[in-house]
Each structure stands twice: as structure tokens, then as C-alpha cells.
Symmetry: C2
Subunit: 333 residues, 2 copies
């Protein structure tokens, strides 16, 4: 199993990307093809011992920045590290691609270079997030805006197959993110989508889920338009990080708080480990003919290694075949 790695993407490229990939190669026995500045990649590789036959480099001359218009960049920068990595998947030379670079360019490349599974209207970006009682996936978190009900219906099936094949759930609960619990609540999109989901016998539909309940993690697959899903994801991250700062600063204001703060430091770190994106891997871009994982832009070696582990898991699970089968069975008839 071989993955294309965009060695130039992310804040810590190429050093942390190369380091994490080498660790993944050694730990998981996967092969890696780096795309990017050959000289720089070779320089990084010199630092490590690794099985030579499992790592290749394809030298490229361009890099797509996070501030570039994504579709244009993918079309014009044909020798960019990301585009060439995508080509490797399209041509069947790699099973998937992992990048910590521009999300927009990754989405554009996934769509236009790798391509959609037949029958899929809109691929979706779908991170798995840590809830209090269990993991949950928000699908979509920004690959699409102004989605249609049929798009969200497909997202529900994507999430279902993901939880079944990759995470080993039986009949995962599917929820529709909405601003009220009742069927008739929400906007035009959610009202129509509610009907589609509730009438689909293949889905274990739990009804509307209000954003307040999402962090509890009682429903596994949470379907939403990308604008709303992205808002959920970013509010989750933003509230968490802002709260931590508030608590930290607040405890510093009294002697008792300071002492207590020192004592809880270790236990708290342990407790909050599951909220560390470096442990959880990246966001899967689902609905494509290849495995595409977006690693966090500020990924270090550990985070990138885990993103590659996630890519391997997705291929191991046969997700794409199973999902293609699901779409063929239930949605193209």
C-alpha cells in the first residue's frame, strides 16, 4: 500500500512532514511517495534510518499557497507538489494522498484530478471529533456550501459506511444538525432533508440534533451543509481553546487557584488528550475514487504520522468499495 505525500504542504513542511512520514513507514509498513522539492526532501531524509524500498521522491517545482484561489491553482500549477501527488492517485500509482497544505486546493484537486465515485453528487470533508461519550463525525465541514437535500442524504450514507467499515460500529446513529428538535424546525434545506432521512429504511435516523447536544457525542454521524458543519467544527475548537485560556488566566489570580492549577495540570492533560488533533489524524475527504486525507495545517511529525495511519485504515477497511456498493444499491435505483 502506497501513499502520495505532499511534502511541501503545511506550516512545518517539509521537515515535520518527512519525519512523520518516515515514522509511519516504519511503524505501519506502508510505502510513501514524496512530492516536492527533491533537494530539501533528501536533506531531511538523511537524518533517518528507514527501509529504502518504501520511500520514493518525485521532484516538483511549484507549491500551492493557502492564499491562492484553489481551482485556478490546481489547474495552472501542474508541477506543484499537491497536483502531482493527486496525479499519482488518479493514475493508480498510489492508493491515496495526504496533505497538510491548502484545504481549498485539496478539495479542488480531489474533485477535478481524482474524481468522484459514480453516483456521488458532492464529495464531503468529514472529520471525526471527540465527544464526551464517544466519537462523532460532522459531514460536511466545508467542501460544499448551499447544498441540496439530496447532497445531505448522500452524506448520511457516507458517514454510515465510514462508521461501519472503518470504526467498526453496527448501525451508527445518524442525526441532522438543526436548530430545533421537531421535524418541522429549521430552514428549507433541513425540512426537506429531514423527510429524505426519515423515510430511508437503511438509515438509523435519530432525528434532528441541536448543536448544544453535539459535543456530548451520542449521535455518530451528523449531517449538515458545509457552512453549518464548518461553523460547528470551528465553534467546538474555538470555544474549547478560549475556555482553556480563561480558566488558566482565572486560576492565576489567587494563591489557592495557582496551587490547584499546578496540581490539576497533569491529570487535566491526560483527560484532554483525546481533544488533541495531533492524536486523531486528519479530515477524510469522502466520495472520491481515492483516499484523500487533509492533515491539520500546523501538523507536526506525530500529527502527520497519525494522518497517514488514518489513510491506511481507510484503505484497509475497503471503504471506497463498500461505499460504491452502498451507493449503487440504495441510491442509483
Amino acid at each position: 500500500m502506497k501513499f502520495a505525500v505532499d511534502a511541501m504542504g503545511g506550516d512545518n513542511a517539509p521537515h515535520e512532514i518527512v519525519k512523520g512520514s518516515v515514522e509511519a513507514v516504519k511503524e505501519y509498513g506502508i510505502g510513501v511517495v514524496f512530492t516536492g522539492d527533491r533537494e530539501k526532501i533528501e536533506e531531511e531524509l538523511k537524518k533517518y534510518e528507514y527501509p529504502k524500498e518504501l520511500i520514493e521522491i518525485i521532484g516538483t517545482t511549484e507549491v500551492i499557497g493557502t492564499d491562492e484561489a484553489p481551482v485556478m491553482a490546481i489547474r495552472k500549477k501542474k508541477d506543484s507538489s499537491l497536483k502531482v501527488a493527486m496525479d499519482l492517485v488518479r493514475d493508480g500509482k498510489c492508493e491515496g494522498v495526504v496533505s497538510a497544505g491548502s484545504t481549498g486546493a485539496l478539495l479542488a484537486g480531489g474533485l477535478f484530478v481524482i474524481g468522484r465515485i459514480k453516483g456521488i453528487e458532492r464529495p464531503a470533508l468529514a472529520p471525526v471529533m471527540p465527544g464526551r461519550k464517544g466519537n462523532f463525525m460532522v459531514i460536511d465541514v466545508g467542501a460544499n456550501t448551499d447544498s441540496k437535500p439530496s447532497n445531505l442524504h448522500q452524506f448520511a450514507h457516507m458517514g454510515k459506511v465510514y462508521f461501519e467499515s472503518i470504526l467498526g460500529y453496527v448501525n451508527p446513529r445518524i442525526g441532522l444538525i438543526n436548530i430545533g428538535a421537531e421535524a418541522e424546525k429549521g430552514n428549507e434545506l433541513t425540512k426537506e432533508t429531514y423527510k429524505l432521512l426519515s423515510e430511508d429504511p437503511e438509515l438509523n435516523f435519530a432525528g434532528n440534533v441541536e448543536p448544544r447536544d453535539i459535543p456530548e457525542g451520542e449521535v455518530q454521524v451528523l449531517v449538515a451543509d458545509g457552512f453549518v458543519g464548518n461553523t460547528v467544527l470551528k465553534m467546538f475548537e474555538g470555544t474549547f481553546s478560549s475556555m482553556m485560556k480563561v480558566i488558566k488566566d482565572g486560576l492565576k489570580e489567587s494563591f489557592q487557584g495557582k496551587i490547584g492549577g499546578l496540581l490539576i495540570k497533569g491529570p487535566l492533560k491526560e483527560t484532554l488528550k483525546k481533544y488533541d488533533y495531533k492524536e486523531t489524524g486528519g479530515s477524510a475527504f469522502l466520495g472520491l475514487k481515492g483516499t484523500v486525507i487533509k492533515a491539520h495545517g500546523s501538523s507536526d511529525a506525530r500529527a502527520f504520522k497519525n494522518a497517514l495511519r488514518q489513510a491506511k485504515k481507510q484503505v484497509d477497511s475497503g471503504f471506497i468499495e463498500k461505499f460504491t456498493d452502498e451507493i449503487g444499491k440504495y441510491m442509483l435505483q
Copy 2:
């Protein structure tokens, strides 16, 4: 200054509603007209000493439940505590209404009984929330879904006048909630709204604000469609409360965590005080010809008293007159 109080609305009606209102009457010198079950209200009132001339009761026979279709309920239940309270504002007998009952019915009543300020397309529900660096308002949090750009443009002006007149800010920063920082990011609604806001010389427009940055509280007025705004509000509350449970449970798992947890309890409570909705009052429903405050459904006496304080502040500030003036000057020409 007199306010209509829906004595039957909320989880703790009428006892906490009556108690909080009596406290508000004594503390702020306002008058209160209770609408609801006369007998029950009188029974509660017996428990307290208060200036008799400042409290009246109008007996009503119906109550609107939180599970009823709002518009229908407001139209049919003409002798409900909420509808009669709204009538008092419409007829100029009270300056405003405060209710802890059904949000939907409050919105419907505001719209159909009290009515919009001339020129206002859509009134909006707008809570002020505690950010790390300062308070911020999300407008709208659910009075409207499928909003138009011109609606959001008016929300920006409502928020501006609110921060200037009620909270004493000079030229508050206005942001558009969006899933990317650049002007061309987002959905059809945000792209169009961005243009309107950035071209309006009366607004101190700070551009797009990503949900991740909202809890920091650096931008005062955050404009959004009600579906997105509600998602922001509920994710803020849900993530906060879920996190607190995670931390509490996590600290219990080790001896050191337990001791530290005991020590930080007091300082933490002090630090997190500003996140207690019981302190902050309710959500203002803006754009109407009267002051309408939605108190939290589970309000106790303290929370309800603070909602009345907020109503008084809004009337004191001349918000409605100032906003009517603003709308007349900049948006009807």
C-alpha cells in the same frame, strides 16, 4: 416605566418569575403587570413585601406551551398570558414584555402583535454573550432562517445602535460570521452580505469572522442568518457545558486531580461567573416597536430579575427611538 411579565412562561413559573419580578420592582423602581393565573400569582405575591402601586395583575385563562406551533398559538390563544402581555405593549400600556416561555411564540407575538419598526424587514433575536476579551452579540440567533443579504445588513445596524446606546461603545466593530476570512469565501448569502457591509460607510466593518475566533470577543456585533447564529450560540453553550463535565469527571480519576479539583473549585466559580446566563439577562428581540426580552426557559428569580434589568436598560437608553432614526437616515433613502 412599566413592563408586562408573562407569569406563566418558563420551567419555574410562576414562583421564580414572581419572585424575580418583585425583586426587580424593589431594586430598579420599575412597575410590573403580571399576566397569568390570578390566583396563583396572588398566592406567590403574598410571600413578599413590595410597593403595592407598582404591581398589577391581569388574570388570563390560557398558557402557550413550548411544544405548540407558535403562530397558530398566538392567533388562537387570545387569552394566554403571553398574548395578553403583548397586547399591553401594543396598546402602549407597557413599555415592554419579558417572558421565559416559548421562544417561538414570543417571536410570533413580537411580529404580529407588537409589530416591526417601519423599514425593518426582519426583527432579530440578539443575545449578548461573554467573550474572553469582551462581550459580543450574535444577531440573529433564530428569529429568521433563509435570510436575505439586506436582512443581515439591517442586523448590523441594529447591533451597532445596541452597542452604542445600551452598552456605551463608540463605533463597535461589526463582523460577518463566515467560514473563511477572505471576501470571496462562504455561501451566496455571505458573499452578497460582505459587499453590502463593506460598502456601508456608517459601519466599522471588521470583515469576515471565522467561528473559531468568535469566543475571543474581539468583534462586538456578529451578523449571521438565524440558523448559523443559533448554531454558534448552541455550540458555545454545548461545548462549554460538555467540557466542564469532561474536566470534572477527569479530575476525579486521580488523587492529585481530586485535591487540585477541590482547590480550584472556588476560584473557578469566580472566573466563570460571567458565563452564567443568570447574570447576563435574556436575549433582546430587536427591530420591534416595543422592548421584548426572552429570558432563559429555566430562569430562576435572579435570572428573571436580570432580564427585567436588561429591559429597563433598553428603554432607558432610548434604543428604539435611536434605531428608528438610524434606519430612517441610512436605509430608507
